[in-house]
Symmetry: C2
Subunit: 310 residues, 2 copies
């Protein structure tokens, strides 16, 4: 939906929402755009959304994994994130020198100079998407019918912003299927419907929209157009910071054999596995609920509270 509001009005709406959240103490600013301290009150909503998503899977969510905010760099490189979204990623560097190098590092830091020349790339990287650490554990041949997985983790996106929905560090709660091509498509579509039900049941004005990832650079424009043309990615959107510009609060994607190929995952009959996932953006859904129902969860409508805290 093209907003009828001017960009300026949208920016004002976002600034007002941010101020309201900070004034209510739900989040605390840190001096870095897009990075917040979460209050206990905010976290209780996050965990209620997480538990609601878990319950909505019935006993069909599959094996549950909670990932660290960091993942093996080797697996990170295999996801192709470096190729597609270099501007969003976070690499990790560590110090492996001795006393003399340490003294030089401190001198640089004290003088306000960059001190990263004394560091080396670590064997880990910041987690780019909640399902990315999963695939390296599946290398090999899957059982017939493939596998279902419920995973959660902190993700990092380097996109500093004053819009509170655009955090640098946030959690995705995902339901992932890895296996047959048809079953992957069905998984995405079934979960897209389930996600719409779950979120509209919380009083949110949601809709599903075809979407594309923000692929980087010149080559990225083609990748984005192709992703949209083949309808691989859908987002569940909702007005959050602005009443007219909708924000994705959940995303449902078919990866075709992208991860199957990269990680050497095969179906029982020896073909590269397809995969699909739905990712509930826990912080964004929490912010959407705050925008819709107000800054005090204790005074949200009883049917919403009943679903979050049954």
């Amino acid at each position: 939906m093209k907003p009828t509001m001017s960009d300026e009005t949208v920016a004002e709406e976002r600034a007002e929402f941010r101020s309201a959240i900070l004034a209510a103490g739900l989040l605390v600013a840190t001096g870095v755009d897009g990075l917040y301290q979460r209050s206990g009150k905010f976290e209780r909503v996050v965990r209620a959304v997480e538990a609601l998503a878990s319950r909505s899977a019935g006993d069909k969510g599959g094996s549950q994994y909670y990932f660290s905010p960091i993942m093996a760099r080797e697996a990170f490189e295999r996801t192709d994130y470096l190729r597609s979204f270099p501007d969003l990623m976070g690499a990790i560097e560590v110090f492996q020198g001795g006393d003399d190098e340490h003294a030089r590092l401190l001198r640089a830091a004290d003088q306000g100079q960059e001190w990263s020349q004394y560091l080396t790339l670590a064997e880990v990287a910041l987690c780019s998407a909640a399902c990315h650490p999963l695939y390296s554990s599946l290398t090999g041949t899957l059982p017939a019918g493939g596998g279902n997985f419920e995973v959660q983790g902190y993700c990092f996106r380097h996109e500093p912003s004053l819009d509170p929905v655009r955090m640098q560090s946030f959690r995705q709660h995902e339901f992932v299927y890895v296996g047959e091509p048809d079953a992957a498509l069905q998984h995405r579509d079934r979960w897209l419907d389930r996600g719409l039900d779950l979120l509209s049941g919380l009083g949110l004005d949601v809709q599903a929209e075809e979407a594309n990832d923000p692929f980087f650079g010149r080559a990225g424009r083609m990748l984005a157009a192709n992703q949209r043309a083949t309808a691989l990615k859908y987002e569940i959107t909702c007005p959050v910071s602005s009443s007219e510009v909708r924000t994705a609060i959940t995303s449902a994607n078919c990866h075709e054999s992208h991860f199957g190929d990269s990680f050497g995952i095969f179906t029982a009959d020896g073909k590269p596995a397809h995969s699909a996932c739905i990712g509930f953006g826990l912080e964004r859904i929490t912010l959407a609920l705050i925008k819709r129902h107000g800054v005090d969860p204790a005074s949200w409508p009883s049917e919403v509270r009943g679903k979050l805290w049954p």
Copy 2:
């Protein structure tokens, strides 16, 4: 306690414990030493320990904050972590170039070369201790009597190890006091007793021991000796991976005016604030419970289960 076992026997015990945890599916190996995927079963124990610690504070825990696994780099630099523990820290780098630099980065990565020369230090760093992101929000003058805070966050320590208690990424749940010097000491000592009660109530063989942080390098040896001589740091230890070598599962520290000075935090009467904290190591306590009571939480003693899941 000096172990009477040989180093080899201790290493064997640790390897056996690691194998048992992986075989039970409580944790999944990732190919990087000290980095695991946590099962839903493991995570449920972590969250039960977290909730038990929260309840043990009664209504005296103070303001609750849940921190992101990353923190502002400026605040990270102020903690002095770069000076004291450079070998353990994780810096974050991001890519801010265009198409041409991206092509060079990918070429380096494809050829297995280090690609970090194309990156720049981010305005964020990996969180070094759960209480570190707190202090920058307190710059200024505290109310009379100081403040209490209950905080939690993922911490990063670059110390790859096959001992499962030594994770690179783990959560601390902390209770922090910032204010008067006497009250800081009392906070630490009261919480040390409360921590011993809480953990021995779960059937763990715990004791409090004077300790020191692993300060880096030549200068670090003096800092460590000084910390021990002034009895600023205590650890609650317990046999975890090995039956004879005790591991710290909780740590209680007085920081004197270290953070007050660095972050410009003052008491109501204008003196640099002192601070103290206790940090419950959620993953280490979970591992201690698994070692003590077995790999299946459903069959743990009913009094332990009753405390964790009341």
